[in-house]
């Protein structure tokens, strides 16, 4: 019984008091939505939303060899990340298959503190990533620490989020760029303040000690009251990231694909010094992708109202030419949208005669370039 008991975040009681519909996500009991997921989605696009993302997996890597370890273990150039900045990257297997996509934060502002990194993995892959980093750390002067229970993670996302957060902190938010993080104090609570997110909007992610999570949530809620901030669940997080064209591990990314198959070959930095796990296989994958382009990740926009779902076939001329990886009704576009891997011959925006097999009926879809939605800066 205890082994199947879901994990609960520090905000669990608060979610229940707000009437959240909870869902199992990677073994965690997480808020799916508090009310209407469409209203939550629209709040993030136009005002602000507050998320509990404490299921994300934090792994700390420290020591003189921390950068060298991460350069060996991950596909990105981590040594090149400046203190206070963050990088989107991936961890691959020796055969090039994607184990997870990650954000790596380089913490610390001084040289002395600067070999301190936080790797944030997807909840579903956190154990795998941790195990791989520990295994790959052999021979490096670095320590890999499981910090999953050391942090709660709250995100405030949306155009009003800078003003809301600014009312609770003296930290220099104007100087905090996208994909940067700095230690600070928010509502009296020590926090790592990162300008990251997964919504396609401006916003912040706040890593705090679990015992401070409720206090911070309540302070953010109060500060956001007049600005239209609402609590948001994972359901709208999924439609927000889908509109923004951001991949989700398990949907667009898997061990069966290399970053080149996923159209994300740019995250693989062959030019960095030294060997890294998967280098040889990824070099082959890059050549293969150049010589014989694999299926391309595209956007699909429905002409009708039926919603494509992950796993549905993409068709053209009676042939299966691809597969939907994520699909949902888009609140912003007012139509169903999907991401799908399709054969290159049908991947150009506006490609003729493309449809999705929705439970036996071929519904017409327009092929578009990703993302579906891009915020105005």
């Amino acid at each position: 019984m205890s082994s199947t008991e879901p994990r609960r975040t520090a905000l669990d009681a608060l979610h229940r008091s707000l009437g959240a519909t909870m869902t199992d996500f990677a073994g965690w009991d997480m808020p799916l939505r508090y009310g209407s997921e469409r209203d939550e989605h629209n709040a993030v696009r136009t005002k602000a939303g507050l998320f509990d993302l404490s299921h994300m997996g934090e792994i700390t890597v420290t020591g003189p060899g921390a950068a060298a370890l991460l350069d060996f273990a991950l596909v990105g150039n981590i040594g090149g990340v400046k203190p206070g900045r963050a990088r989107y990257t991936m961890i691959c297997r020796e055969d090039g298959g994607i184990l997870d996509d990650l954000i790596v934060y380089r913490l610390g502002e001084t040289e002395a503190e600067s070999s301190h990194y936080m790797v944030v993995a997807n909840a579903s892959n956190a154990q795998t990533v941790l195990d791989a980093l520990v295994e790959r750390s052999a021979g490096f002067d670095a320590e890999v620490r499981d910090d999953r229970d050391a942090y709660a993670l709250l995100a405030v996302q949306g155009p009003e989020s800078p003003a809301i957060l600014a009312s609770l902190t003296d930290a220099d938010l104007d100087g905090l760029k996208y994909y940067a993080g700095l230690p600070g104090t928010v509502a009296g609570v020590p926090a790592l303040i990162a300008r990251t997110g997964y919504t396609g909007e401006d916003g912040f992610e706040l890593f705090v000690k679990p015992e401070h999570a409720v206090e911070l949530w309540q302070a953010l809620t109060k500060a956001g009251e007049g600005a239209g901030l609402v609590p948001c669940g994972l359901s709208c997080r999924d439609t927000l990231r889908l509109e923004a064209g951001m991949p989700l591990y398990g949907n667009e990314l898997s061990t069966a694909l290399t970053p080149f198959d996923a159209g994300l070959g740019r995250v693989v930095k062959f030019e960095k010094e030294g060997d890294f796990v998967g280098r040889a296989a990824l070099a082959e994958a890059a050549e293969r992708a150049a010589a014989r382009p694999p299926r391309v990740l595209v956007g699909l926009v429905a002409e009708g109202r039926r919603v494509p779902r992950a796993g549905y076939a993409v068709v053209a001329g009676g042939e299966v030419i691809g597969e939907v990886t994520s699909g949902a009704p888009s609140p912003t576009l007012g139509k169903p949208i999907a991401m799908a891997y399709v054969d290159p011959a049908h991947a150009a925006p506006g490609a003729e005669g493309v449809g999705v097999d929705i439970r036996g009926s071929h519904e017409p879809y327009e092929v578009v370039a990703l993302p579906f939605y891009k915020r105005r800066k």
Binding site: L32, S36, E37, R38, S235, R306, V307, P329, R359
Partner: protein
């Protein structure tokens, strides 16, 4: 949430009104609507279609999933709710009223439809 006592219920979470001139109205319960989340698309049977008790006769799509719609009774469809086709959010906002789905001339009514109290117990369990 309270399930209206004048309705009867199926275990598939449809409600059925008392027949007027042999015609009953069918919808899904508030419990089902809440479980689905925002309904974005409904596909209903057509007027004149025959439906069979306990068999699928349409579908409801929400943000996260697609669910079959079952008819709680057998009979012939006499009317569908065009308002809910145009604005599926009525299923969420007024599941027992403006969010009704179709009307059916009942020819076959299963004996195991639930009273409101029985349905309350069903969804509490």
């Amino acid at each position: 949430m309270s399930n209206p006592t004048q309705l009867r219920y199926s275990k598939e979470h449809e409600w059925l009104s008392a027949a007027e001139d042999g015609v009953s109205t069918v919808g899904i319960t508030e419990h089902a609507a809440n479980a689905l989340g925002d309904v974005v698309f409904v596909q209903l049977p057509e007027v004149g279609d025959s439906v069979t008790a306990g068999e699928t006769c349409g579908e409801l799509e929400s943000t996260k999933s697609v669910s079959d719609l079952y008819s709680p009774v057998g009979g012939e469809i006499t009317e569908i709710n065009e308002d809910v086709v145009n604005d599926p959010s009525l299923v969420n906002s007024a599941p027992f009223e403006g969010g009704w789905l179709f009307k059916v001339r009942v020819t076959d009514e299963p004996a195991d439809l639930l009273t409101a109290a029985e349905y309350d117990a069903e969804i509490a369990g």
